[in-house]
């Protein structure tokens, strides 16, 4: 789909807001990992239920198995955040956080939930503060564990026909750790966000 939900200025503002929020999430992650975290340039795309899998696999770009954690966000904007960990990165996490590297399955799950919650919390708070709008988020839940990436999202289970996808990723220099944070917002939120972005730009 080539439909563009936003004007050039609205896109620019959204990109900058996500960039600021990502910086805060990256800083939180760097603190718990005790390492410098490399940040990506946020990618923002409009996806349909038909091309969401190919778009996400193109962004995450791994043949390895992944684990994924989901969290809903709500209030002024509704949507879902998904954090995808490549398996090597998930395995590296325990070591980075100073735990024993042969964690059992439930301890590894706990770690993934904790890191996802930290990132999603920081990015949602960052967006909320920058745009001066109320946002809250749910507790994290594991949506996939050691699965091929194309099996993490099931188009038949999605409740939307198109959505705004915002992607950022975090890597640790010289380590295996890498994770992607995806935020999906559906039709109603896309419209609401347009008004919020206009207000934000008017306020500057």
């Amino acid at each position: 789909m080539t439909m563009k939900p936003y004007t050039e200025d609205q896109n620019d503002a959204l990109q900058e807001v996500v960039n600021i929020a990502m910086g805060q999430a990256g800083d939180s992650l760097a603190r718990i990992l005790g390492n410098f975290v490399e940040l990506s340039v946020p990618r923002i795309r409009l996806v349909t239920v038909d091309d969401v899998i190919s778009t996400v696999t193109g962004m995450v770009d791994t043949n390895a198995e992944v684990s994924a954690v989901r969290q809903a966000f709500s209030n002024s904007l509704r949507g879902e955040a998904i954090v995808i960990f490549a398996q090597a990165g998930a395995d590296d996490l325990a070591d980075l956080m100073g735990y024993d590297t042969d964690l059992d399955q439930s301890a590894e799950q706990e770690l993934l939930l904790e890191v996802a919650n930290l990132l999603v919390g920081a990015i949602i708070n960052g967006i909320s503060e920058t745009l001066e709008t109320d946002l809250s988020f749910s507790a994290p839940s594991l949506m996939a564990e050691r699965k091929p990436l194309d099996q993490v999202l099931v188009p038949e289970q999605l409740s939307w026909s198109h959505a705004l996808l915002m992607e950022v990723n975090f890597t640790v220099e010289g380590r295996d750790f890498k994770c992607h944070l995806l935020m999906f917002m559906t039709e109603e939120a896309i419209d609401t966000l347009r008004g919020i972005l206009d207000e934000f730009m008017d306020g500057i």
Binding site: N19, G23, Q24, A30, F36, L39, T130, I204
Partner: protein, 121 residues
Amino acid sequence: MAVPITVVDDSKISRKMVIRALPTHWKVDITQAEHGKEAMTAYREGKAEVMFLDLTMPVMDGYEVLEQLQKEQLNTFVIVISADIQPEAQARVKKLGAMAFIKKPVKTTDIENVLREYGII
């Protein structure tokens, strides 16, 4: 006399945020640059006594600008304005010659404090 300053960021809204956050009594002549190459052109034309520099940009990023400025004797006061707020990022740009680091979203008080500290205002 107005101080020639250059605001470098690929985001238009971000440049606007910086310009709006400048102290109102500070007399400046503002040039805007969308990436590092434009920033270097402005610098060579004497339009950047003070440079407000973003890090992540296409064509030529902020780190490359700092390196290039060092090669050209760094005759400008660079204030990095970045969303990457990790202490390590701040240390890296200071090592490359940036005088100060301000986190996004930028606030007037942050800019004022830096300009005061170095006697620019």
